[in-house]
């Protein structure tokens, strides 16, 4: 099995390096094929591993030592267990689809080769992230996906907005990464290792406050990657990247890494329910918060991005409340339908010459039937309508909240479910139905390549059926993760009905409201709209109170402090000496009389001191 593990792990990087060989050249079609094939190989290997794990075999290998200093020892260790293998499946599957899809999507881009190189590198990093058997290995992947995300967001680096967004994403993630590092440090110094098996075994013996600190710091790390408030702004901006990237990285895989971390550290978080409750509360808040922003946004991809954010909030609620398997389940389901949604959006963009404002579209159903259907499936799944995947996973989360008697959380999520359905169908309606407004803007939309659509189809299938395997899934992952005791059997059906009702209500409202295209611009002047469209003014606040002061402070540090104080004081010492020299060189007037006077003066001074001293001496000695 080790071989399959290595294949699964290293196939993507081989692809990436292969693509990198052609990096600076114009499009080389073979690059796309080879990388896709290698990712597919990885998928196959993962599937084999899945089989093995299902048979109860946990694969654990140690490739080689990485860092060993003092008592600190970290190897390159990989472990394939139930959670890992699920993640591997999700990652490789979505990646394979995105790769194939990208062959078409990036067809005309001159950075074609580069793109595949980055994309495969991302897959590799993600695999490292999920497969590592220790926190530091996870951190490798963690940073690796960060870099790939930076590269891919800034893929069209001639665009100012793209590079800006890339940097923002990277830096924001770095803030969280620092917390994560601190968490790792604390783990090491309190438990003596960063290996999962050691720390999970050790966790219950250490000081509770230390454990809580570790938990909080690791979670802050997760917040960055999963774009939780207040580190969420980068995700929407990250939509500057090519759409397949958004599908893969900013929907299906990377952003869920935070959730994965919490799930992975379940044995630890289990010991600190107070932190878990905090996680859940934050998750619920973000779910609602992001959903509201999605309501009014006029950017196709950003809407989906906010939706992602919102769904991540759901996952955190589940994970925080201890229902780790539910979180993982929603993670998986979400990966499928959200990737599908993004890829669909990609098709639309492709058709519309990269136009993203749904207000300028409308009636696209006629020209892009398949895409439209795929996106509708994804949206229905997202909205959580039976029998699609989203229904099963989301419903479980609400149930979890209810079961833990966290009614506020439940209420929030419940409302959010309605909002989710609403904005999803607002998007669908604006894009595919109603008046064909795109004609006013001179677009000539066309359907995407066939194979792109074929590539998307597995996702569609999964978005539909994934939920049906809930029981098998539960059985499988709870071999490792703790099971969650639901106390809601008596109200289970009611809950389902209530939830489905609000989802359906949201859909119907959206359809009704947007059946004739966008709303009038009148309400755009309303306060609520302004707040939402400006993302609660948070980016502005960041710009004004963090970025700008930082920039100005840097300038002050350089020009005022470094140059004018620190450096100038050094120079001042030198110039003082020099100026003393200049000022006193007149002493050497070259006039003999003056020289003689100096000599006598020296004598007189010495004499004065001598006499003063001897008078003093005599006075003391007597």
């Amino acid at each position: 099995m080790e071989m399959y593990l290595y294949i699964a792990l290293f196939a993507p990087i081989v692809g990436s390096l292969f693509a990198a060989l052609f990096g600076a050249q114009p499009k080389t079609p073979i690059v796309g094929y080879v990388t896709s094939a290698l990712i597919f190989t990885s998928l196959v290997a993962s599937t084999v591993l899945l089989g093995a794990v299902m048979d109860g075999e946990i694969v654990h290998v140690e490739l080689m030592t990485w860092i060993a200093a003092g008592d600190f020892y970290v190897p390159f260790g990989f472990q394939v267990d139930q959670v890992t293998v699920i993640m591997m499946m999700v990652v490789t599957l979505v990646s394979t689809i995105v790769h194939v899809y990208s062959i078409g999507y990036m067809d005309h881009d001159k950075g074609y080769n580069r793109f595949f190189s980055y994309l495969s590198a991302f897959v590799f990093s993600m695999m490292v992230l999920v497969m590592s058997d220790n926190l530091l290995g996870l951190f490798i992947g963690w940073e690796g996906v960060g870099v790939c995300s930076w590269l891919l967001i800034g893929f069209w680096y001639h665009k100012e907005s793209a590079t800006w967004a890339a940097n923002e994403a990277f830096i924001m993630n770095r803030i969280a990464d620092l917390a994560m590092l601190i968490g790792i440090f604390l783990t090491y110094w309190s438990m003596g290792s960063v290996q999962y098996d050691v720390i999970f075994a050790e966790a219950q013996y250490i000081d509770h406050s230390t454990l809580v600190t570790i938990g909080i710091f690791l979670f802050i790390g997760a917040m960055g990657k999963s774009a939780q408030f207040p580190l969420h702004t980068w995700l929407a901006d990250a939509m500057e990247g090519p759409t397949p990237v958004s599908a893969l990285i900013h929907a299906a895989t990377m952003v869920t890494a935070g959730v994965y971390l919490v799930i992975r550290c379940a044995p630890m978080y289990d010991l600190m329910p107070e932190v878990g409750y905090f996680i859940a509360s934050l998750g619920a808040f973000v779910a609602m918060f992001a959903a509201t922003m999605a309501l009014v946004n006029r950017d196709l991809k950003r809407i989906i991005a906010y939706s992602t954010l919102s769904q991540l909030g759901y996952m955190f609620v589940a994970a925080g409340l201890g229902a780790y398997w539910v979180a993982l389940f929603h993670l998986m389901a979400h990966a499928f339908f959200k990737a599908l949604l993004f890829l669909g959006a990609g098709n639309v963009m492709h058709a519309m010459d990269s136009e993203l404002d749904p207000v300028k579209m409308g009636g696209l159903f006629k020209v892009m039937k398949v895409t439209a259907i795929l996106m509708i499936i994804a949206s229905v799944a997202l909205a959580g309508i039976w029998p699609l995947a989203g229904f099963f996973s989301k419903d479980k989360i609400l149930e979890v909240a209810f079961s833990g008697e966290h009614y506020i959380l439940w209420g929030t999520l419940w409302v959010t479910a309605g909002l989710t359905a609403f904005y999803s169908f607002r998007l669908i309606m604006l894009t595919f139905f109603g008046e064909e407004r795109y004609k006013n803007f001179g677009f000539h939309p066309h359907e995407a390549y066939k194979y792109m659509l074929y590539a998307m189809s597995p996702l569609a299938v999964l978005a539909v059926i994934a939920g049906w395997f809930e029981h098998q899934f539960v059985d499988f992952v709870t071999q490792m993760l703790p099971t969650f005791e639901f106390h809601t059997h008596h109200v289970e059906m009611i809950l389902i009905l209530v939830t489905s009702a609000i989802a359906l209500g949201g859909i119907i409202t959206a359809i009704v409201m947007y059946r004739n295209g966008p709303l009038s611009t009148k309400w755009e002047s309303q306060f609520a709209y302004k707040v939402l469209i400006n993302q609660y003014y948070i980016p502005q606040i960041y710009e004004k109170f963090l970025v700008q002061p930082y920039r100005e402070l840097s300038d002050i540090f350089w020009k005022q402090i470094d140059m004018k104080i620190v450096d100038a004081s050094v120079d001042a010492i030198a110039t003082t000496f020099y100026n003393t020299g200049e000022a006193t060189r007149g002493m050497q007037s070259g006039n003999l009389s003056t020289m003689l006077k100096w000599m006598v003066a020296g004598l007189v001074i010495l004499l004065t001191l001598a006499v003063a001293f001897s008078v003093g001496y005599i006075a003391i000695i007597g």
């Binding site: 001639h158 590079t163 940097n167 620092l178 450096d567």
Partner: protein, 517 residues
């Protein structure tokens, strides 16, 4: 030959430099490459012959120079110095190999070979006075390199560099003389041998004073805030080769000296000053990173980033545990490679356009993709991406210091944020966007000569990032012996508790430790 390999390493380049006066101007480049190459091979031989399982000094050489005053020509290396020597040889080699066409190249190459002598000498010396000799002597070639081949304010920069470091090291010299005097008082003989000094246990108040004296010399060299202002000038004005060597090797002398002198000689003082120095280090990290962000000249960005990274090294050194110190030593190597490479990269553009202002660049990724790629890799290494060389060092430094203080580590850890900010901002300004300057449109990408220098660096960055053991292992062994020595020598209870006890390993402390009255 192996018994004298250190002497050979030191004096071979110097001798070659003298002979180089005879070599014809047109052939001097090849001569330089050949000599530096041989030196590099010798350094590799040294590595090959080095026994990583021994923690103490190896390849020791001893010759009495001034027995009446206890000065002897005493050489030896351990894991800490070995790799810096190799790095020095390596950078001189690729530095000479990638030299662009400058005026007076003969003088430059001869000077570089002399510089190489001093660099190896500093790291191989085990006698404080010999150490001091090379330490000071290294200023002269650098002075010349900056002053003669530098930019507009080169004279100001070079003289500032010289005087500043010179002044600092004179204070250090006083410290050394005191140390020798205390040794004399304790034993009745003069000695400047560091190994002999290691055996001396000093009372805490004396340690404090001596620590401060040594600190001045080292801190200016590192350079630590607020003694750092010579560095931006030196880097800003120096030619590429000067910056490369300065950043890669010369700065490391300061931090190396902390490990070699300050820690084992004054363990109690090290504990006493741990937090003040940590505060300075944090200021270095954050403040200079912010200053770097404000720069308009790409070379200044890299220069300030050097200061920032040196802050982490200092912090790791004063973690006073094996993890931190090993990390610091490893980061010295790492930072040497990465900042050296970054300076070379800046030089690549400078050679083409004779400007270092970022406003004169922009969109270079379109024109020079290979350049951008290598720069990108080095930048990522610089911001401490895992699986690159810097990460290992930075991680261990911070990890080590975390044992001493959580909050300080958190503050210093912001390095990974602020570091990313200025680096990414600079990268964006240089490489992203559209090409706005007409002159830039036809710039050639990196050529073979430059690749010859850069590719090995990229390989090292990745290799040691993925598999640091060949380097980290020996470093770790030697650091362990130092930490144990510190623990054994510590006088105060506080120091004993702060510095970990590693009694499982038998180290130098077996030797008799003598008390000063």
């Amino acid at each position: 030959m192996l018994e004298h390999i250190l002497s050979i390493l030191i004096f071979f380049p110097a001798l070659a430099a003298l002979l180089g006066f005879v070599v014809n101007k047109d052939s001097i480049r090849v001569y330089g490459i050949a000599v530096a190459g041989m030196e590099f091979v010798l350094a590799l031989v040294l590595w090959g012959a080095y026994d990583p399982s021994i923690a103490g000094m190896q390849f020791m050489e001893r010759m009495d120079l001034i027995p009446a005053f206890g000065i002897s020509y005493l050489l030896g290396i351990d894991g800490i110095s070995l790799f810096i020597i190799i790095l020095a040889a390596f950078f001189t080699f690729i530095g000479i190999a990638t030299l662009p066409n400058l005026k007076n190249i003969k003088n430059l190459i001869i000077t570089l070979l002399f510089l190489q002598m001093t660099m190896v000498g500093v790291f191989a010396a085990l006698d404080a006075m010999i150490f001091y000799v090379f330490w000071e002597l290294s200023l002269v070639p650098m002075l010349y390199i900056i002053g003669a081949w530098g930019g507009e304010k080169r004279i100001y920069a070079s003289v500032k560099f010289f005087l500043y470091t010179f002044a600092g090291s004179l204070v250090m010299l006083i410290g050394m003389l005191f140390m020798a005097f205390f040794y004399f008082q304790a034993t009745g003989v003069w000695s400047f041998s560091i190994l002999e000094w290691y055996r001396l246990v000093l009372p805490e108040n004396i340690q404090l004073w001596l620590f401060v004296a040594f600190f001045f010399g080292f801190a200016i060299k590192v350079p630590m805030f607020p003694f750092h202002t010579w560095l931006p000038y030196a880097h800003g004005q120096a030619p590429t080769i000067g910056s490369v060597i300065l950043a890669a090797i010369l700065l490391k002398m300061g931090t190396y000296a902390f490990v070699r002198f300050s820690l084992p000689l004054f363990p109690d003082a090290s504990v006493y000053f741990m937090f003040p120095i940590a505060i300075l280090a944090i200021i270095m990290v954050v403040y200079t990173a912010m200053v770097a962000y404000a720069q308009k000249d790409i070379k200044q960005v890299v220069a300030y980033s050097s200061v920032s990274h040196m802050g982490i090294i200092v912090l790791g050194t004063f973690a006073l545990n094996v993890e931190g110190i090993s990390g610091a030593v490893f980061l010295m190597i790492a930072h040497g490679v990465v900042s050296g490479a970054l300076f070379m990269l800046v030089g690549v553009f400078y050679d083409r356009r004779h400007t270092k202002l970022m406003s004169d660049m922009g969109g270079l990724a379109h024109i020079m993709p290979h350049y951008a790629t290598i720069f990108g890799i080095m930048m990522m290494a610089s911001v401490g991406l895992p699986l690159t060389i810097n990460f290992v060092g930075e991680f261990l430094c911070l990890l080590g210091f975390y044992q001493q203080s959580h909050i300080f580590t958190l503050l210093a850890g912001t390095a990974i944020i602020v570091g990313a900010i200025y680096m990414l901002a600079a990268f964006k300004k240089v490489f992203f966007g559209n090409v706005v300057h007409e002159e830039n449109k036809n710039l050639p990408d990196v050529n073979k000569k430059e690749l010859f220098g850069l590719i090995p660096l990229v390989m090292i960055v990745v290799w040691l990032g993925v598999y640091p053991k060949p380097v980290l292992g020996p470093i770790n062994n030697s650091v362990e012996s130092i930490v144990q020595l510190m623990h054994d020598k510590a006088v105060t209870q506080e120091a004993k508790s702060v510095i970990p006890d590693l009694t499982k390993k038998v180290v130098i402390s077996e030797t008799i430790i003598e008390e000063v009255r």
